[in-house]
Amino acid sequence: MSATAHSLDFQFPLLDRKAGVSPAISGGRDARPPLEREDLARLRATLAGTAAAKMTNGAELIRALDKARREESIPTTLAPFDALLGGGLPRGKMVELTGRRGAGRFSIVMAALAAATSMGEAAVLIDLGDHLDPWSAEAAGVDLRRVLWIRPQTLKQAVMSTEMITATGFQLVVLDTGTHPMRGRRVPDASWVRLGRSAEAHGAAMLVSTPYPLTGTASEAVVTAGRSRMKWLGRGKSPHVLAGVTLELTLEKHRHRKPGEHTSLSLELLP
């Protein structure tokens, strides 16, 4: 980003502090299309007054935009899950979601993919267990055109693929290691530290969904999906229909929040 910023320096005239003019794309305020004007105004509104005053050229503007973007989260729009993490999956951080088979991990993964792609972000799913059903993903709201599906065969391949693809600039990287037992042998702990650093370096929100804890100290937060309760419709002689599930989520670890918080999440089955 910094290289781009430097190369764009010449496109932005210096701020005329005496005249009290706001930072402007070259050509003057009137020459700017409404799109840029609106966003600049919005950006200035999001920045603290002192920070906005310091913004004197295009490079700083781009850096400020990048910084502001990195401080955002990608919400999964599953309110209880987002509340546990303080707003969603933080960009530049790795979040681990653990839980046994049937604990609802894959549903949260789908919700995260749906939310990110609906925002126009490109997302990648590293699917170690080869579990994705494109039809139901589409039904869940995932824009499949913006999803890169990688199906490694071992955990080592999965971690290598995750590291490679994170460096490409995807804003949401989801690694689902499938169900227990995982395919392939365990990978060194240092691999997870490297993944965490890679996410930080490229500003990607990384979600690692595993049947048991793997990432250790490398993750920003660990959420455990616990006991689930299935919801059935129909009683007696009338046909039974599986309607959904209620999950228990627990915040096991968070670098900036008090752990131990519990919440429940209801999911419905597509009829």
């Binding site: 490109a122 059903d133 494109p134 709201g141 007696g236 209801s266």
Partner: protein
């Protein structure tokens, strides 16, 4: 009106330069390029180290060996020379689209009107020499108003040589006649007349020269005055890029072959970069010993110039289907395509760099296989778990950031590929239960086993009745006592029951 300016790129000792481009490690050795076989083999070019020891073009190989016993002799490699010429043409094309291929390390470039792009014509010449050196060819540069004068200027050791417009005759005058045309039939006649320089020839009366030497005399007189009526004939752009070489000895192992192929791919990559292309398809043809060829084609998932990626794909392909005989030569053809471009947005979501994405996808494909990376696609069928993989080419992100659409909060199913065969125990339905029977327990691998708390079904699915083996299944949803829930189906097969998904 712009004055015609023609530049000439000239590679001295072209057969040697082409060989050294393919085998740069020989640069510091005493190497001679020979032509002909057996006792007729004679030296056509030699490296500086060999020349300092007395090796000259025209010596027989035996004579050369008597001077330098450890002389490395290499035959002329047509493939190397052809690819080197191609590479030189591509360098020329990076300066002007009007380029003529004069063969054997000579390329003419029409640089008329390019004075605005370079501070001076000398700068242009230095840039061309630098670019040729980047692809491993030591080129000289000459610039004049005609092809002839440009070639003569390029042949001079001091490079770049610029001949001012209208100064061609003056430039040529002091030079020896051999510079005009090395294979001059009338050289001995002119020598008898006492004519040694081009200027002396130019001073002779044209009609008298034509009367004595015929049409050749007239042409020579024109040339000596710096007049070259031949126009520049631009060549058409090649539809593909080609690199290859003939090997001195047959290769039987993969690693040494990949070592040489890597250098060839590197050269291809640089050539494509000059033209602004990336490789979409690679074709490898290997010449086998004692005879025959082995050809293969590799389609890249996305246009790329990354040598490492192309080499990995080549390695995987060769490991899968080895040629089956020693390799004595190879040609790699790269089919070019425009690399994907994208305008990155300041205010919208971060867009992916198409070049970087293409390279990463190609590397992932080389590691995992081509059916394991791509865009997931739903297939138009009622049968669950059917899918297709497409090329990942995401639409451009929106210009402005937008909020996420609210999730539907749906329970997702993990598909098991292939479905897990299970043993199912059923029991008759009780009075307060629907249907004729209920699933009592399932026994499968791992966690897919246990008593069933609740089951729901059957849901009938019949599809593809037009096929010889249509799909006819009965689906059930079951929740085990342990809390896990699965999608189970029964089919008319020996195994009977399968679990094809788990709710998660």
């Amino acid at each position: 009106m712009t004055t015609t300016r023609i530049a000439c790129l000239y590679v001295t000792m072209f057969p040697l330069a082409a060989r050294l481009r393919s085998e740069p490690e020989l640069l510091s050795e005493a190497v001679a390029i020979v032509e002909g076989n057996g006792s007729a083999a004679h030296v056509v070019a030699a490296t500086r180290r060999a020349r300092t020891k007395g090796i000259r073009p025209g010596l027989t190989l035996a004579q050369a060996r008597s001077l330098v016993p450890k002389l490395i002799a290499r035959g002329r490699d047509v493939e190397c020379e052809r690819t080197a010429q191609e590479a030189l043409l591509e360098v020329a094309e990076s300066f002007s689209p009007r380029v003529e291929d004069a063969g054997d390390g000579i390329v003419f470039i029409d640089v008329s009107g390019m004075e605005r792009h370079f501070a001076s014509e000398k700068d242009l010449g230095e840039a061309a020499i630098r670019d040729a050196a980047d692809i491993g060819l030591p080129a000289r540069f000459g610039l004049a108003a005609s092809k002839l004068a440009a070639r003569v200027a390029a042949e001079l050791p001091k490079s770049p040589t610029i001949v001012e417009p209208g100064g061609e005759a003056e430039f040529l005058a002091p030079l020896p006649l051999a510079r005009l045309t090395p294979e001059l039939d009338a050289a001995s006649t002119l020598q008898r007349w006492g004519i040694t320089s081009i200027g002396e020839l130019a001073r002779l009366p044209e009609s008298e020269l034509a009367a004595r030497l015929g049409e050749l005399g007239r042409e020579l007189h024109y040339a000596a005055r710096g007049i070259d009526p031949r126009p520049l004939i631009p060549r058409a752009l090649p539809p593909e890029f080609r690199e290859g070489m003939e090997l001195e000895w047959p290769l039987v192992a993969l690693e040494p072959f990949l070592f040489i192929a890597s250098a060839a791919l590197d050269r291809l990559s640089k050539r494509m970069e000059i033209q602004g292309f990336a490789c979409k398809r690679l074709e490898l043809t290997m010449t086998l010993e004692p005879d025959g060829y082995h050809a293969r084609a590799i389609d890249l998932p996305a246009p790329t110039r990354d040598t490492k990626t192309m080499l990995t794909l080549l390695r995987l392909d060769l490991e899968k289907t080895p040629p089956g005989a020693p390799v004595i030569g190879f040609t790699i053809v790269a089919h070019p395509d425009r690399p994907r471009r994208a305008q990155l947005s300041l205010f919208g979501p971060a867009a992916l760099s198409p070049e970087k994405l293409a390279t990463t996808i190609a590397r992932l494909v080389s590691m995992l296989g081509d059916d394991r990376v791509g865009m997931p696609m739903a297939v138009d069928t009622h049968i669950p778990d059917r899918y297709a993989i497409g090329t990942f080419a995401p639409p451009p992100p929106p210009d402005l950031r937008r909020g996420p659409r609210k999730s539907r909060g749906l329970l997702a199913a993990r598909i098991f590929r292939p479905p897990v065969a299970v043993e199912v125990i059923t029991r008759p339905s009780r009075e307060n239960e629907p249907g004729e029977f209920q699933i009592a327990s399932i026994q499968g691998e791992g966690d897919i086993a246990g008593d069933v708390r609740t089951s729901a079904g059957p849901w009938q699915l019949t599809a593809e009745w037009w096929n010889p083996s249509p799909v006819d299944r009965e689906y059930w949803d079951v929740e085990l006592m342990k809390g896990k829930s699965y999608r189970v189906y029964r089919e008319e097969t020996p195994e009977g029951w399968y679990v094809d998904a788990g709710y998660d």
